[in-house]
Symmetry: C2
Subunit: 203 residues, 2 copies
């Protein structure tokens, strides 16, 4: 089969559903890599430009906004962060799958900017279990936890915007399910139908 | 999660691509079962009505045609064979996935009758390899093999009608890929989005 373009997988879900752990496992496949964000904050010790982040000035960042080059962007604590579309497309052109671990709000921005992105929504086994997980982190007061749970339910109500859902009750099973989704997406017919036919015709 | 309806998987591909072997493996999962065809031919020794086939009279068969109850039907050596829609729907309602191992012509009829069916097209690694496989069967003369190869290419040209393709170069890998497709289809969001939301709302 001729070399294929990679795809963009957006992995999102309410805070506490384990996006990070799942992405870490998915990234072990050499064909998958994280997207690299652009930011206006300073590099911390050991951070490498182009690997951890693209470190840019605020002017450069705003330039990218004007050019419409962000799949999503947001302001966090006075700094700007965004996912540059051109860089993601460069990774995909090399045949790599790009994994975007992102909050629900950012995920919906990405879908608008790149409708062909494959949207995976992670769910907790239940809100009760999500509460337990948030409590175990031990850093949040009860009021904040209530707010997060209520936000989680609001986010779940938007699940119709996504292509797939994975319930993270068991990490290993959830990772297998995400991998199955990626395998199935590799095997979808429409977009590359002409390549397949050509391959057999030229024999 | 509330009990889900099963899905209909149509597994097809040119003659010699290994549909049978793949289906045998897929059927080992207790949640998957073959569809049972209706036929006007007589039951052979040991064949069970409702398990191997639904054995019916020609009148009964034609009655089903008139009622529009066939996902596909065909005449083979003076006998009629067809896949009764009501029976397939009954299996799906029980939460079982129905597997239909069928030739390409029948597969396209099924897609018309049930557009929600998931269509998987099996490909040989190459036409050259398909020729080798057909020759190994040892029962065909060269002219028939040429006809089959030419028919295979015609069938491959219609691959745009299918949802997924799987290249059967290694049986184990092909089976894994079909299973990944089935897992991913289980995890697709749209159709059951309301059930998912309800489940978290009622906590």
């Amino acid at each position: 089969m001729s070399r294929k373009e990679g795809k963009l997988y957006v992995i999102t879900g309410p805070s506490g559903t384990g996006k990070g752990s799942i992405c870490t496992e998915i990234l072990k496949d050499v064909n998958n890599e994280f997207s690299v964000s652009m930011t206006t904050r300073d590099a911390r010790e050991g951070e490498v430009h182009g690997k951890d982040y693209y470190f840019v000035t605020e002017d450069e960042f705003r330039d990218n906004i004007e050019k419409g080059n962000f799949l999503e962007h947001a302001s966090v604590f006075d700094h700007l962060y965004g996912t540059p579309k051109d860089m993601v497309e460069k990774q995909m052109a090399k045949g790599r799958n790009v994994i975007l671990d992102i909050d629900v709000q950012g995920a919906l921005q990405v879908k608008t900017a790149m409708p062909e992105a494959i949207m995976i929504f992670l769910l907790p086994p239940s809100l009760e279990e999500l509460r337990t997980r948030l409590e175990k982190r031990g850093t949040e007061d009860p009021e904040i936890i209530e707010k997060r749970l209520s936000k989680a339910l609001d986010e779940i109500r938007l699940i119709g915007e996504y292509d797939y859902y994975v319930v993270n009750d068991d990490l290993e099973r959830a990772v297998t399910e995400v991998k199955s989704i990626m395998t199935a997406e590799e095997l979808r017919v429409p977009e590359k139908v002409k390549d397949i036919i050509k391959r057999y015709e030229k024999e």
